[in-house]
């Protein structure tokens, strides 16, 4: 710890001097004022901004998937926007299968005290893939992994996209999809069987096994199976 340098705290909202935030009251359902970011985005990106909605006081901007990375890094770096805090990455699938799946990013600008929702719509039949924002926000690491785990949406450019909440060899599918039944696809005994029968020595990923040259200490049978490409589970 180096305490010789004088410490200046990073005050949130410092750029928005004079604005005293207050509890929002009587927020209207639609038609509220747009966030100034919407106008700035339209100006900068034009057609990449497909739609702007204001629902319950929150501005939602639907963006073209191919330009998402540009939009996100612009929002992060632009001095007048400074959306430095990624709150959440998630997806929404509607009960009506004709509606597109929406991938949602919630971002905050701490200096300006703003909140923004970005969306990318994946139409029915399109590949479930969107660009990753990990390069801009490190918090996207686990958030995107979870979105992949629950919905099967691939985030292109993510360094290590694998399941995080379910075990890596989970075979039933992607739980939060609407065609995934609440109790899972298999019977309870089958689910138990799959959970309990996971290869008992295979509790480490290949990455972890490479750490300690533990590979040499494994039994021959196990080593043979691993070298044949059998993926280890959790």
């Amino acid at each position: 710890m180096n305490s010789s340098a004088p410490f200046t705290p990073v005050i949130a909202g410092s750029a928005a001097a004079g604005s005293a935030p207050a509890t929002p009251k009587n927020v209207s359902h639609r038609g509220g004022p747009e966030s100034p970011t919407a106008g700035a985005l339209r100006e900068r990106f034009g057609a990449a901004v497909k739609r702007v909605d204001v629902v319950w006081g929150e501005t939602t901007i639907v963006v073209d998937s191919r330009r998402l990375s540009e939009v996100v890094s612009w929002l992060h770096d632009e001095p007048a926007q400074r959306y430095d805090f990624l709150v959440d990455v998630t997806a929404v699938e509607f009960r009506d299968a004709e509606l597109p799946i929406e991938v949602v990013w919630h971002v905050r600008s701490l200096p300006f005290r703003r909140f923004l929702r970005l969306k990318v719509l994946i139409e029915k039949g399109q590949k479930l893939e969107v660009p990753s924002v990990w390069a801009t926000y490190k918090s996207a690491d686990w958030l995107e992994r979870e979105c992949y785990d629950m919905f099967g949406i691939t985030f292109a450019g993510h360094p290590d996209l694998r399941r995080i909440l379910m075990w890596e060899q989970y075979r039933e599918g992607y739980p939060l999809r609407k065609d995934f039944p609440l109790r899972g696809r298999f019977s309870r005994s089958e689910q138990l069987r799959q959970a309990l029968s996971a290869n008992p020595e295979a509790r480490y990923s290949m990455d972890e096994l490479s750490i300690a040259q533990a590979f040499e200490d494994l039994p021959d049978e196990m080593r043979r199976r691993l070298s044949e490409g059998e993926k280890t589970g959790e």
Binding site: D84, L110, R117, E234
Partner: protein, 437 residues
């Protein structure tokens, strides 16, 4: 105590020669009276032991991982070179179930995900649902919810304090902290009947109004709690062991902290003044007079100090809330959302229909979506709800602060010792129910 170093030729019962035939020499250290003291091997005598790195698995069943967290550590001796966390051992499908439950039926679920902050989660969800429905709560309900949130904050920080102290070997503050938690349990039990998983709010109001004498009980708690806090402060804050074990550990700079999505005391200890109560207020928090503690170095000790101070500020807010608690109804009057009183439901036709629709189908919000965030003791807790006009949400997303905070652990523990991993893990204040949902 002065020591004199002398190099002494050791007479061994063996030949005293090593394999190459050279005499063996072992340095000995003696104190003034000539007694030999054993020391650690002085540096430079033994060659660097370059060995393989070791793979250690911490968890998922472990006393100090605060739940079912699994950390796979690559150790070089005792220094952590790499840390790979595995979560998901408590994944229980909350978000999936939320799509099959009415809004009031989801509130018991919010208790169970961050179970240390149950009442606070209830309030957060109710705020989100009320925004989605477009309704405003009563003044009394607003103040009661502030009291709930702050009591919940104290409850959660007490568990954090108790378990962190136990992890570092200090058992007594755990008992003191839990004794105060029992006082809060008594308050909550007198109010809604449950100690831990309270389900204290409903969409449009609270489960019940506070009983007579409850506010006096709360006043008594507010008066007596700071004494326990200062007792714990006395034994922990300037304790050499505590300070030695926590200073300089797990440092996150302000920019890193923001980029890694940290929130709550983790972020504030790194020097970023972001508190949802201040920056995106709810429940009229801007009208309360309280400070937001901010740390300077972002290490484990600062996080401890920030949380201790937050508890004191919570007491301050509670005092103000007690002073301003207005009379009046707790629930709003809109019977499309709140159940009508039984006397009306059994006599008045319209109320009977409202009752029927609410019990059978549940209140239905308009089509829309909203994200409402509160400052939970762990950080920014948000509920993102998407409605398609039916009584069950299309999507109920929990933005878990501990999940994002924990994702920074590999960065924080690298280069530290194995025992520091426990301290750093404890300082994040994780609750696996929220991480895995």
């Amino acid at each position: 105590m002065a020591t004199t170093k002398r190099t002494v030729d050791v007479q061994l019962s063996t030949s005293g020669l090593d394999a190459q035939g050279r005499p063996q020499r072992v340095p000995l250290v003696t104190d003034e009276s000539g007694n030999v003291m054993t020391l650690d091997t002085p540096p430079g005598i033994e060659p660097e032991l370059a060995g393989d790195h070791m793979l250690i698995n911490l968890g998922p069943q472990h006393p100090a991982t605060h739940g079912v967290l699994r950390l796979v550590l690559e150790l070089d001796g005792e220094t952590v070179v790499r840390c790979i966390p595995h979560v998901g051992y408590l994944h229980c499908g909350f978000e999936k179930i939320g799509e099959y439950r009415q809004y009031n039926q989801i509130i018991p679920w919010t208790d169970r995900e961050d179970y240390l902050n149950s009442p606070g989660n209830n309030v957060a969800f109710a705020l989100g649902a009320e925004r989605l429905f477009g309704i405003e709560i009563t003044a009394r309900c607003t103040v009661l919810r502030v009291m709930t949130c702050e009591l919940s904050r104290i409850m959660s920080h007490l568990v954090w304090l108790g378990t962190t102290c136990i992890d570092m070997g200090a058992f007594t503050p755990f008992l003191w902290a839990f004794y105060q938690r029992e006082a809060i349990y008594k308050l909550l039990e007198d109010w809604v009947g449950a100690r831990l998983t309270t389900t204290i709010t409903r969409v449009g109001g609270m489960a019940a109004d506070v009983p007579d004498g409850w506010v006096d009980q709360l006043k008594h708690f507010v008066r007596t709690f700071p004494k326990t806090l200062s007792e714990i402060d006395q034994v922990v804050t300037r304790n050499a062991i505590w300070v030695g074990r926590t200073i300089g550990l797990g440092v996150m700079s302000p920019d890193e902290a923001i980029n890694y999505g940290l929130s709550g005391p983790m972020l504030r200890a790194s020097g970023v003044a972001y508190d949802v109560r201040r920056d995106f207020p709810y429940l009229d928090y801007e009208t309360y007079d309280f400070d937001v503690p901010i740390g300077t170095s972002g290490d484990v000790y600062d996080r401890y100090l920030v949380r201790m101070e937050e508890m004191r500020q919570s007491i301050r807010i509670l005092e103000q809330a007690i002073a301003r608690l207005p009379d009046g109804p707790v629930n709003i009057d809109d019977h499309r959302v709140v159940l009508p009183p039984k006397s009306k439901a059994t006599s008045d036709m319209e109320s009977m229909i409202h009752h029927f629709k609410q019990v059978m189908e549940g209140p239905r919000p308009p089509v829309g979506e909203c994200y409402v965030a509160v400052e939970s003791p762990k950080g920014e807790k948000g509920y993102y709800m998407v409605s398609d006009g039916t009584s069950k949400p299309v999507r109920w997303r929990i933005r878990p602060p501990s999940f994002v905070n924990l994702s920074a652990i590999p960065k924080m523990v690298e280069g530290h010792l194995l025992s520091d991993v426990i301290a750093i893990n404890a300082s994040i204040d994780i609750v696996m129910g929220e991480i895995d949902r």
